[in-house]
Each structure stands twice: as structure tokens, then as C-alpha cells.
């Protein structure tokens, strides 16, 4: 009986653990357009539409990496300056007044993209340009541009191969930079881009099979170019009309089932095999697992906010710290070393911390001029003297 009980408990625990493992703690989105120039307006519109969606579903700008290689809103050919639309009805200005582009223009390169994914960036690259995901993060990667069999062009100048992308994701997995990853790509022959992936926990979907083109959806005659691609249009249609809030229970299965080849004009693909549990398990992931942000706010329960216990704790810490500093001073006096922060009182050390980030300035004052002139005269004098000496000796030796 006891054994059975124990077994049951262990089983319950196991269930609990597996339920726990499926959860993620943060959401990140990497949204990349890879083509510049006016006639590729639709690629920027694709990305900006996705950007609006994930922002609507709660991912903050600090967790969205937006890469735009061109600025359509300010393009001289744009008949509606300062705006980008993804629909001919021009109901929603995607550019709006609150958009944070992290990589723009010529910063959008294959190298920067790979560096972003693998976080091999300079120390001074700001956090807004970094993918700060960890082992608890669900990451959405959306790419659009012009591609071909197992490559995607960046900026007309270079291309990323399916191998590079697979290796980048491999390194991300190796360093636990994602929990689960949803890869979406809208380009010609898009499905070839995820064929080389090998790291687990990735669901990949693309707009078209090998040897198929992905088509634009419609053009806006006043803008003058196509404004959105078909596959992205229907994905967005699903997201905008069905996934109306963060609490939506629709899952990836529903999203992928909504693909209609007669509308998209190409065969979208989905790759499940890297996901643990395969398609069955993967289909159950909700759409907001990737497009929304985790929303667990912990309201302090009554006993934790009760100032009594905490206050006592703090008083104790303060007392402790005092004693500890006294002790440290004794130690450093004995050892005769200046032990840095430890010997400082908390007041000055916190001030010290605050000031640390400021760069020291030096006052520049012009020299009175005579010193430098003297140096100049002596340099010119020395050179002339050597030259004259050279002329005399050189001539005499001939």
C-alpha cells in the first residue's frame, strides 16, 4: 500500500515536472526583411504587419528585434510620406508613431543576423540590438525577401544559406538560447530554407515548395507597388481575425490548417520532426505561445507585503552588514591590503556604483603656442641642419 502510494506520488511529481517543462518564461521575436529598394515595398510591409501583430499580443519592443533594410516610409517615391500600408484600403498605417527599428539600412547583413542569433556581438552593442533570450524563451523568427533553392538574398549583395541558418540555430540551441522556436519564412522556394535544420524544438513553416514562387497578394495603385505577399497576408488574416487577444486558445495546428493553397497560389510547408512529440505535440502549442508574451504577474500575497516580517529582515540585514563591515575593516587592517569595496561604507560604495558608468572628461586647453612653436623650430632646425650637413659632405665625397 505504502509502495503504491509512493509510486503514485512519484507519478504525480513526474506529471508535474513534464507540465512544468512545457512552459516558457519569455517571448522574443526576430522579424527580418532582407530586401531593399522601392519595388520590394511588400517585404517591409510583411514584416511591419507581423511587428504590429506581436506587439498587439504583448511582446514589448525590447523583446522584438526588427530588421529593416530600407525606409519605405521616407522613400521619395512614396506618395504617402511617412506611412507604410499592407493593404490597398490603407486603413492601418503600419509605420505609425511608435515603431522601434533595431537594425536598419546597411546594418541588415547576413553577418549581423548570424551574430544576433548567436549573440557574438561587441561588448558595446546595446541591449536593444541583442537577442537576450534564454533557455526559457520562445522565439519567433520571421524572414521575408527574395530567395531561391536553399538561400535567401540579403540586400542584393549577399545571401544566407540554409546551412548557415541551421548552424546558427544549432548554436542557439547549444547555448540554450531558446526553449521553442517557430521559424516562418515567406520567399520563393521558402521551404528549402529549413531543410537543413537539425536542432530540436523547432517548428518551421514556409510559404512555398522547391521550384515554386511565392506571390504578392495585391497592389495598391496609388502606392504603385504590391503591398503584401500572399502567404503572409493569409497568416495575418488568421492572426488578426481569430487571435484577438492574448488569452486566445487557438493553436499552431489551427494556424497551419488555415493555409489554403488555392488562395496562396503555392504550397506552404510545415516541418514538425524536430519538435519533441512531432506533429501531435506541436499542434497543441498555442499561437500566442510564439506571437504573444507570457503574462504571469505575481501579485504579492498579503503576508509577503506585510511590512512586519520584511522590515525585521531588513533591520537584521542592516545590523549584519554593520558588523560585517567592522570585521572586514579589522581583516584589511591585519592583512594590510586595501580590499576595495568591502572596506567602504555602503553609502559611498553605492555612490561609487552610480558614478561608474560616466566617462571621465579632460579639459582641453590650448597651449600658449610658444612651447609648440619651439618644438617646431627645433624640428625644422634639426632637419635643415642635417640636410645642410648632408649637402656639404655629399658634395665633398663626389
Amino acid at each position: 500500500m505504502a509502495l503504491l502510494l509512493r509510486f503514485l506520488r512519484a507519478f504525480a511529481l513526474l506529471l508535474l515536472v513534464s507540465a512544468v517543462v512545457a512552459e516558457h518564461t519569455s517571448n522574443w521575436a526576430v522579424l527580418v526583411s532582407t530586401s531593399r529598394f522601392w519595388f520590394n515595398y511588400r517585404h517591409l510591409a510583411n514584416v511591419l504587419s507581423l511587428y504590429r501583430t506581436v506587439k498587439r499580443l504583448g511582446i514589448p519592443d525590447s523583446q522584438i528585434i526588427l530588421m529593416l533594410p530600407d525606409d519605405m516610409a521616407c522613400n521619395p517615391r512614396n506618395a504617402f510620406p511617412g506611412t507604410v500600408y499592407s493593404n490597398a484600403d490603407r486603413a492601418v498605417d503600419l509605420y505609425g508613431d511608435n515603431i522601434e527599428v533595431d537594425y536598419r539600412g546597411y546594418e541588415v547583413t547576413v553577418e549581423n543576423f548570424i551574430r544576433l542569433l548567436t549573440d557574438r556581438l561587441d561588448e558595446d552593442v546595446p541591449r536593444s540590438k541583442r537577442l537576450g533570450s534564454d533557455s526559457g524563451s520562445n522565439v519567433l523568427v520571421y524572414m521575408t525577401g527574395h530567395g531561391g533553392d536553399q538561400f535567401l538574398k540579403f540586400q542584393d549583395a549577399e545571401e544566407i544559406g540554409a546551412w548557415d541558418l541551421a548552424d546558427a540555430f544549432g548554436q542557439m540551441w547549444e547555448k540554450k538560447r531558446y526553449h521553442e522556436l517557430l521559424f516562418m519564412i515567406d520567399t520563393c522556394q521558402a521551404n528549402t530554407m529549413y531543410t537543413h535544420f537539425y536542432s530540436p524544438n523547432i517548428v518551421a513553416t514556409g510559404s512555398s515548395e522547391i521550384d515554386q514562387s511565392s506571390y504578392s497578394h495585391h497592389a495598391d495603385n496609388d502606392v504603385g507597388v504590391a503591398v503584401i505577399d500572399r502567404w503572409t497576408y493569409y497568416v495575418l488574416e488568421f492572426l488578426e481575425t481569430q487571435v484577438t487577444s492574448v488569452t486566445s486558445k487557438l493553436n499552431l495546428g489551427d494556424l497551419f490548417d488555415s493555409y489554403d493553397e488555392s488562395k496562396i497560389h503555392s504550397q506552404p510547408g510545415v516541418r514538425w520532426d524536430l519538435f519533441p512529440g512531432g506533429e501531435q505535440e506541436g499542434r497543441l502549442r498555442t499561437v500566442v505561445d510564439f506571437f504573444g508574451n507570457v503574462q504571469n504577474v505575481e501579485v504579492e500575497n498579503a503576508n509577503a507585503t506585510e511590512p512586519g516580517s520584511l522590515k525585521e529582515d531588513l533591520v537584521e540585514i542592516a545590523r549584519l552588514v554593520e558588523k560585517w563591515q567592522k570585521r572586514d575593516k579589522e581583516y584589511s587592517a591585519i592583512l594590510g591590503n586595501s580590499a576595495g569595496n568591502a572596506t567602504e561604507d555602503p553609502h559611498s560604495s553605492s555612490l561609487h556604483l552610480k558614478l561608474k558608468s560616466t566617462v571621465g572628461t579632460t579639459k582641453m586647453a590650448e597651449d600658449s603656442g610658444w612651447g609648440k612653436r619651439l618644438v617646431g623650430i627645433s624640428v625644422v632646425g634639426a632637419c635643415t641642419a642635417i640636410w645642410v650637413a648632408g649637402s656639404i659632405f655629399g658634395r665633398s665625397s663626389v
Binding site: 525590447s62 557574438r120 534564454d134 544559406g161 501579485v299 525585521e312 581583516y331 569595496n341
Partner: protein, 567 residues
């Protein structure tokens, strides 16, 4: 470009052969032949003695050799089995030494029998009763001197004090120190002959209780789950898991950002420096063995909610404004409030002090009337409802213009508490010094593990991507990491946890640096046919006349040899 150089090259090359190809050319003089030989030799000398070494040097990928085996061993846990021998001093000021010895032995036996997680065990040690008693009475605990000494850190001092009039033993944890007082009836002193005694059983149970959460946490970290421990209750397991998930990823430096947000123009100033010094600094000092902290503060006026965020509702019954719990996630207007300063390398922990508009004051969370909440991995929010003043001539009440240190007290204490939680400090036992000590051990374990696994990742990466360069700095970082890992492991074995944490911190930093080395971005996929396309357009046109010249010259020399040999 390529044709350009070809143009430049070919007339010259042909010019130097020019005399020999003229119609009815006059015979070449030996001097001309020699000159031509010299010209060709001069070009080829440059190519062979400078060109090829440069080609070799600049196109080979530098891969520093890494101790792959060792790195994989660390990742697989073969190099080190982290153990946590906690040294617990038993102070028995009023016991015979023989009795005390016996008590120690039996208690240790009982502890060892009950322990199911071998890596974490308690080692009892008899301390010099008289000195410890006076020593511990008023002075700070031994364990907080974090200078690495050759002795193990004392995790806890158990003081056994006889007390008249007790039925059974009773314990009292001193919350300010790492000291556990156990009062026992004098008649329960175990006699050396008996194998177990109620006192030793009581001590055992007390110690087990004290360290159960720590043990479970370390087991969870080391093995990934708590399934190995039977004694851990599911609630505890869940609690541990929840805590580990909401705590922020470890960083060498955290930025603490304290922000005052208010939708109106008041209050516009606060005694932030005094408040930080008073309420936050002591905690940061206590946490300094674990991480460094920097602080910045800001005051933001006219900070509005996001348009989509749910508005506060008025609760007639209690005359307060309320926010629904599920709407709290949209409380922070991430789009417009200037949070997340992107300066520096460490993660930012945000603490927001929100003063509601006088027209919406007081403001509480609807469900439990709380005024603060925590956002996992991000920070905390505190709604402060200051007393409104009605001095305003226009009628409506207004917020005070200045927040004094005292009025900030509750908020900053809550922030301190939230900081502890966000850093993953365990919630038991009740003594804060013990919790911080536990925190040190947990951090040491997790850093050891994470640095080891980074080593494994780097080793696997090195093997799987042969085109990636590995600069020498990575090799240095790796060796630093490995040496600090082993010293950390050794410190753990000896029970010097602060020193172990210090080593583990260095190991973690170096491991991260080696993995994220900037120059280790692999060559973008580059098949050999692409290399031809890189080399040929430029080197082809240069090379052709040079090679042809060389061949002609060789033919001439060979022909002359033959001519010489023939007659």
C-alpha cells in the same frame, strides 16, 4: 578591375618578349636573354617568397587547440561531482565532553541514515564550547568572512542549552545570525551507552527541516528535477521550480533601475538617495558575494497608461479604485515609458513606483487589495497612495510635491523583498543570513553547472563547425574557466562555499566570454567553387602572363641544356 590589371600586365610582358617575335628578328643577344630571365625571376621571387606565405597565412583559419576531452568531461559531470558538505558546529557549553561526543556521533549517524541525496550532507563538528558560546553571543557569524581561509565555512552553529522545566527539547532560530538554539531538559542528556536519544533525534529533525528546501533546490539544479528525492513534497518541488523560473538569469552585474511614474505633475521629487541607502544598500552589500549591482533612478511625470490597457475601476463599497489582476500585465506601458536603458552589459531589474492620479487615488489590486506585484524576470511595481492634500485652490485634491524618505519606506522594503525573490533567494529558513548562505551555495552549484555546460557546448561547436576560427583568447579563456572550475569544485569539497562561488563566478564569466567570442562567427557557407570565383577574376589575368613567361623561360633553359648535351 581584373581586365584592367590584365591590360596593364600584358603589354609589358609582351613588350619584354617583343624583340623575339619581330618579323625577321635580329638574333637576341645573350644580354637580352639574361635580362628577360632576371625580369621573370624578379616577379616569381616576389610571388614565391612573399606571395605564397601571405596566401598561406591569411587564408588558413586559425584554430587554437582546446582541451576538448577535458571540456566534455566537465559537461558530462565526469570531472567533478559537486558535493556540499555543510559544516555545523555543535556548541555544548554545559555538557561533558564525553557526552557531547556521543551526542554528536549519534546525531551524525541519524543524519547520514536519513540523507537520501549524497551530494548534500551535514557534517557535525564539536566546537570549543566555551569560546563559541561567548563568541556567538554577540558577534557576527564566522561564515560571513568571505576571505578564503583554509577552514571550511561554518554553515550553522547549534547551541545546546539546558533549560529547566521543559518536557521535550525546543528550538529557536536566531533570525539575525546563523545560530540555532536548542533548549533541552537537562535530564535528556544522552548517556554514552544508549544508541539513540530523543535529543539527537530532535536535532536531526530540526536540521533536516532547516535544510530541506536547500537540498531539494540543489538536487533540482544538479539533476534537472527533484524526482530523486522522495522526501520532497510536490508543493515544495513546484515552489522551487516556480522560483527558479521567475528568477533572473545570472549575471555578473545587475542594473537596478528605480523609477517614479505619475500621471500628473506631482510628486516631482523624492528622497531617492536616502531611501536607497537606507533600504536597499544593506541588502546589496549582503548580496555582494553573489553579484555586483549598479543603481540608476528616474522620475517620469505625465506617464499615461497604454491606450489598450484596462482602466482602473471604482469600487463603491470601499471607496477605492481597483485594477483587475489579469489586467496588471498591461499596467506597464512598455511602449512609452522609458524603461530598459540599454546601457552596459548586465540585465536591468526595473522597480516602478507608481503614484496614481489624485482622481484615481487610492488604487489597489482588486482581488486582494495588494498594492504591489512582481513581474518575473523583469522587476516589480509598487503603487503608492500618498495622503492627498486639499490645499489646491482649483478644488480637487492633489498629490504631495515631494516624497520623503519615510513615505518611501514601505515601497523600498517591498522592492528589497522583490529583489531577493527575483534573484532566486530561497524562502526558508526564516533567518536571512541562512537564506543568503543557502543562496551562495545554490549560485555556486548553478554557476558550476552552467560554466561546465558552456564548456561542453563550446567543445561540441568546435567539433561540428570546422570552418569556425578559434582565436587564442578563447583558448586562454577556456583554460581559465577549467582551472577555476576545478578550484571551485575543490572548494566545494572542502566546504568553503564563498570561495567556491568566487571561483565559479570567474569560471562562468570566462566561459561566457569564450563562447561568445566575437570573431568566432563561422565563414558564411563557402563551397570551393565560390573560392574559384573569388580568386580567378583578379589572380587569373595577373597569373597568365607570369605563368606563360615562366614556362617559356623553362623551355628555353631546357632547350639549351639539350643543345649543350647533344654535341
Amino acid at each position: 578591375m581584373a581586365t584592367k590589371i590584365g591590360d596593364q600586365e600584358s603589354p609589358q610582358a609582351s613588350a619584354s618578349h617583343q624583340p623575339s617575335v619581330k618579323r625577321a628578328p635580329p638574333p637576341e643577344t645573350p644580354a637580352a636573354i639574361q635580362t628577360r630571365f632576371r625580369v621573370i625571376a624578379a616577379f616569381w621571387a616576389v610571388i614565391i617568397f612573399l606571395g605564397f606565405p601571405i596566401w598561406w597565412k591569411t587564408t588558413s583559419i586559425y584554430r587554437a587547440s582546446l582541451p576538448i576531452e577535458e571540456m566534455v568531461d566537465w559537461a558530462d559531470g565526469k570531472a567533478c561531482r559537486p558535493v556540499f558538505p555543510l559544516e555545523i558546529h555543535l556548541a555544548t557549553p554545559s555538557m561533558q565532553s564525553l557526552e557531547a561526543q556521543h551526542l554528536l556521533r549519534t546525531t551524525q549517524h541519524a543524519l547520514d541514515d536519513l540523507n537520501e541525496f549524497a551530494a548534500h550532507h551535514l557534517r557535525l563538528k564539536l566546537s570549543n564550547g566555551s569560546t563559541t558560546a561567548t563568541h556567538n553571543g554577540e558577534d557576527s557569524p564566522e561564515s560571513f568572512k568571505y576571505l578564503a581561509e583554509e577552514t571550511a565555512d561554518t554553515a550553522l552553529t547549534v547551541r545546546l542549552l539546558p533549560q529547566e522545566g521543559l518536557v521535550g527539547p525546543r528550538s529557536e532560530l536566531q533570525t539575525a545570525t546563523t545560530q540555532l538554539d536548542i533548549f533541552y531538559p537537562p535530564n535528556q542528556v544522552p548517556v554514552p551507552s544508549s544508541s539513540n536519544s530523543p535529543l539527537s533525534a530532535f536535532i536531526t529533525a530540526e536540521l533536516q527541516r532547516l535544510y530541506s528546501e536547500e537540498k531539494a533546490t540543489i538536487a533540482y539544479i544538479l539533476s534537472g528535477n527533484t524526482a530523486g528525492l522522495d522526501s520532497t513534497s510536490p508543493q515544495l518541488a513546484e515552489e522551487i521550480d516556480r522560483r527558479l523560473r521567475r528568477s533572473i538569469k545570472y549575471a555578473e552585474t545587475y542594473h537596478l533601475s528605480f523609477s517614479l511614474f505619475t500621471p500628473g505633475s506631482e510628486p516631482s521629487s523624492w528622497d531617492i538617495e536616502a531611501a536607497v541607502n537606507e533600504y536597499v544598500s544593506p541588502l546589496l552589500q549582503a548580496l555582494s558575494p553573489i553579484s555586483n549591482f549598479t543603481i540608476d533612478t528616474q522620475v517620469q511625470l505625465y506617464a499615461n497608461f497604454a491606450p489598450t490597457a484596462p482602466k482602473p475601476e471604482y469600487d463603491e463599497s470601499e471607496a477605492v479604485w481597483t485594477l483587475k489582476k489579469e489586467g496588471l500585465s498591461a499596467f506597464v506601458n512598455a511602449a512609452e515609458w522609458p524603461l530598459n536603458p540599454s546601457i552596459g552589459s548586465g540585465p536591468t531589474i526595473n522597480f516602478i513606483l507608481y503614484i496614481p492620479d489624485p482622481s484615481q487615488s487610492p488604487l489597489f489590486v482588486k482581488e486582494n487589495r495588494a498594492s504591489s506585484w512582481m513581474v518575473p524576470q523583469w522587476g516589480g511595481v509598487f503603487i503608492l497612495n500618498p495622503p492627498l492634500s486639499h490645499t489646491d485652490k482649483q478644488g480637487g485634491p492633489s498629490n504631495p510635491t515631494h516624497l520623503s524618505q519615510d513615505s518611501l519606506g514601505p515601497a523600498f522594503m517591498t522592492f528589497s523583498h522583490q529583489l531577493l525573490t527575483l534573484l532566486g533567494t530561497p524562502s526558508t529558513p526564516t533567518s536571512l543570513p541562512l537564506r543568503l548562505q543557502t543562496s551562495i551555495r545554490i549560485r555556486a552549484a548553478s554557476l558550476l553547472l552552467s560554466a561546465s555546460s558552456t564548456m561542453g557546448s563550446l567543445a561540441r561547436l568546435t567539433k561540428s563547425l570546422p570552418s569556425i576560427p578559434i582565436p587564442a583568447t578563447v583558448a586562454t579563456s577556456v583554460s581559465t574557466t577549467l582551472s577555476h572550475l576545478s578550484s571551485s569544485c575543490a572548494h566545494l569539497r572542502e566546504g568553503r562555499f564563498s570561495a567556491a562561488l568566487a571561483s565559479a563566478r570567474v569560471a562562468e564569466t570566462e566561459a561566457e566570454r569564450s563562447f561568445f567570442e566575437k570573431s568566432m562567427v563561422g565563414q558564411v557557407y563557402f563551397p570551393d567553387e565560390h573560392k574559384v570565383a573569388v580568386y580567378l577574376p583578379l589572380l587569373g589575368p595577373i597569373g597568365v602572363p607570369l605563368v606563360v613567361g615562366l614556362l617559356k623561360e623553362l623551355k628555353r633553359i631546357a632547350g639549351r641544356r639539350k643543345a649543350k648535351g647533344a654535341p
